[in-house]
């Protein structure tokens, strides 16, 4: 029981991190970036390449990969979203153009790294990070150093983003654009630059989630994005459109629920939970559990 809570929190921290970037762009642009999972996957491969070919320690590869993932985000914004801005069908068109970019990213990964599962070579992480486990007395389970590191990195990034959006100038601009791009423009906000910055941050976070996922399960493949793309969607919808605390809470909740479902009902029911929850929330309460009432969806 205690062990399941720990494992659930661990899985949930990765979901939360992935969904946070997803919802940042969803909240600002009101468009679903279906290439987010492809960035997650490519970042994982970047980290692998940096640590195997350039022999960077993983602590150095992480920030570098996040920057690379952020650049992918800038590319996405420039190619798939900016040209569509202002078009009447930009909602559906953006969905399709981001899907197109996701397909291109997957093609690149498939060509460069092949379809098989790749793994970090032994010694990428000190052996102690997996073998050394810390007992957690009250809950009655143990956590490995790697799990602890993943949860901490995820938490630092979540808090960092929250601070950025709440307190910084960029955060104020992002919130202004989310409210009304036109009004923000009139008040002197550079809308194009703000949206590009949101994409950079969003993709960097998605990339970080990818690296952490790749490290913890030590399995990287071109189709690994599939394991999070629809679940990330479930997390942001259940948490509430554009609500960052909602995405984090729903991410952790999904991680916990999945671990319990696997333990008590069997692994094949794991994905059913997120989609059933997604369906019910969209139909019954489209604004999500934490979303503010809005005219957009109903």
């Amino acid at each position: 029981m205690g062990q399941q809570i720990i494992n659930g929190l661990f899985l949930g921290s990765i979901y939360a991190l992935f969904a946070l970037g997803y919802t940042l762009v969803f909240g600002v642009l009101d468009i679903l970036n279906l290439a987010h999972a492809a960035v997650f996957m490519l970042a994982s491969f970047f980290a692998l390449a940096l640590s195997t070919q350039l022999h960077l320690p993983i602590a150095g590869a992480l920030p570098l990969t996040m920057v690379l993932a952020g650049l992918l985000g800038l590319l996405l914004e420039r190619v798939a979203f900016r040209p569509l801005r202002g078009r009447a069908d930009s909602n559906i068109a953006g969905l399709i153009s981001s899907l197109a970019m996701a397909t291109v990213f997957e093609a690149i990964a498939l060509e460069v790294w092949g379809p098989n599962i790749r793994r970090f070579p032994e010694g990428t992480l000190p052996a102690a990070t997996v073998s050394f486990r810390i007992e957690i007395p009250l809950v009655g389970g143990s956590v490995s150093l790697l799990q602890l590191a993943v949860i901490s990195v995820a938490m630092v990034l979540v808090l960092g983003l929250t601070f950025l959006v709440r307190r910084s100038r960029l955060g104020r601009e992002v919130r202004a654009v989310a409210e009304s791009p036109r009004a923000a423009q009139v008040l002197g906000v550079n809308v194009d630059r703000t949206i590009a910055a949101s994409f950079f941050i969003s993709s960097a976070l998605g990339g970080a989630a990818g690296i952490l996922y790749g490290l913890s399960y030590n399995a990287i493949s071109p189709d690994m994005g599939g394991s999070v793309e629809l679940k990330g969607l479930a997390v942001i919808i259940v948490g509430g459109m554009g609500s960052m605390p909602g995405a984090v809470v729903a991410g952790f909740a999904l991680g916990l629920i999945e671990v319990f479902v696997v333990a008590h009902l069997g692994a094949s029911f794991r994905d059913a939970v997120s989609f059933a929850a997604l369906f019910l929330v969209v139909v019954l309460r489209p604004r999500g559990l934490f979303g503010a009432a809005s005219m957009r969806e109903a």
Partner: protein
């Protein structure tokens, strides 16, 4: 000449069949798109049609025409309770709800022991012939073609362009949207049954999120403004991999990634520069030429 044609047909028979099946699937997404709704439940409906038909053939031994009838009607009936709540949603939310529906169906099938779970049903007798697929496709196109220019067709266009305005003019938008979802479900179920009785098998992983995305891509690349756009898109994108297989060694990229790359780039170019799809290309070229030619 005839011999060459026949041998060509023999080696490409399954491609020819898949052009027809994919065209039906693309039309099943198009029906909702034609009134501006992005409903992505078609993989779920195709699964229902495929499994229902396979069970009726394998376990009950029903005649094939009757089996196809059930594969059309069952998803159509099930589309009603799905459509009533989800069609209140708009844009991306409708897409998400319908994607979730498809995934729930797929995962339900994986966990249903009676239909052999993830393995799926095998050894389904091959009862689908290519002429059957095209006859049914022609029938579907006939129905959709008759809508154009009719009162019904104008209502759909009005809803697509501006739903609140259409509603204000007294068009019962909800009924129209639901009818098109039901029609799409029927087409998807039919395609699923035809496919199941062509490939000898059905399995849950044939009805993933990726599959419905493919259907959407067929419709959008071909052109979702006209009823034959999705058919053109399905034909083009189903034949394309065959052409790319020969091209792949020459450009030095593996066929799998090359197909993905071309698909992705094509989709991007179409959505950015040809929002009305490939079928609008001749018109765009003419307009471009006319603009450039001296007076």
């Amino acid at each position: 000449m005839l011999d060459a044609l026949l041998s060509f047909y023999d080696s490409y028979q399954s491609t020819v069949a898949y052009v027809g099946i994919n065209a039906l699937l693309a039309l099943s997404v198009y029906t909702s798109l034609s009134c501006g709704q992005l409903a992505l439940a078609s993989s779920g409906f195709a699964a229902i049609g495929a499994y229902a038909s396979a069970l009726l053939t394998l376990r009950a031994g029903w005649p094939f025409p009757l089996v196809l009838g059930v594969a059309v009607l069952l998803p159509a009936v099930l589309a009603l309770p799905l459509g009533l709540p989800v069609l209140r949603l708009k844009g991306v939310f409708l897409a998400i709800a319908t994607i979730a529906f498809g995934e729930v169906i797929r995962i339900g099938l994986i966990n249903w022991a009676y239909v052999k779970g993830a393995e799926g049903l095998v050894a389904i007798p091959q009862k689908t012939s290519v002429w059957m697929i095209y006859l049914l496709l022609a029938a579907a196109l006939f129905v959709l073609g008759r809508l154009r220019g009719s009162k019904w067709g104008f209502a759909l266009e009005a809803i697509r362009e501006d739903e609140p305005a259409a509603q204000t003019m007294g068009i019962p938008t909800g009924q129209y949207k639901l009818s098109m979802l039901v029609l799409g479900a029927a087409l998807a179920g039919l395609a699923g049954a035809l496919e199941a009785h062509f490939t000898f098998m059905v399995a849950p992983n044939g009805f993933t999120f990726r599959r419905v995305v493919d259907m959407l891509v067929f419709a959008v690349v071909g052109g979702a403004q006209l009823y034959w756009g999705p058919v053109a898109g399905a034909a083009f994108l189903t034949i394309l991999p065959e052409l790319l297989r020969d091209l792949a060694p020459r450009v030095g990229i593996e066929p799998g990634p090359l197909r993905l790359l071309v698909n992705g780039l094509l989709l991007l170019l179409v959505i950015l520069f040809l929002p009305s799809g490939l079928v609008s290309l001749p018109r765009q070229v003419r307009r471009f030429r006319a603009a450039r030619s001296p007076e």
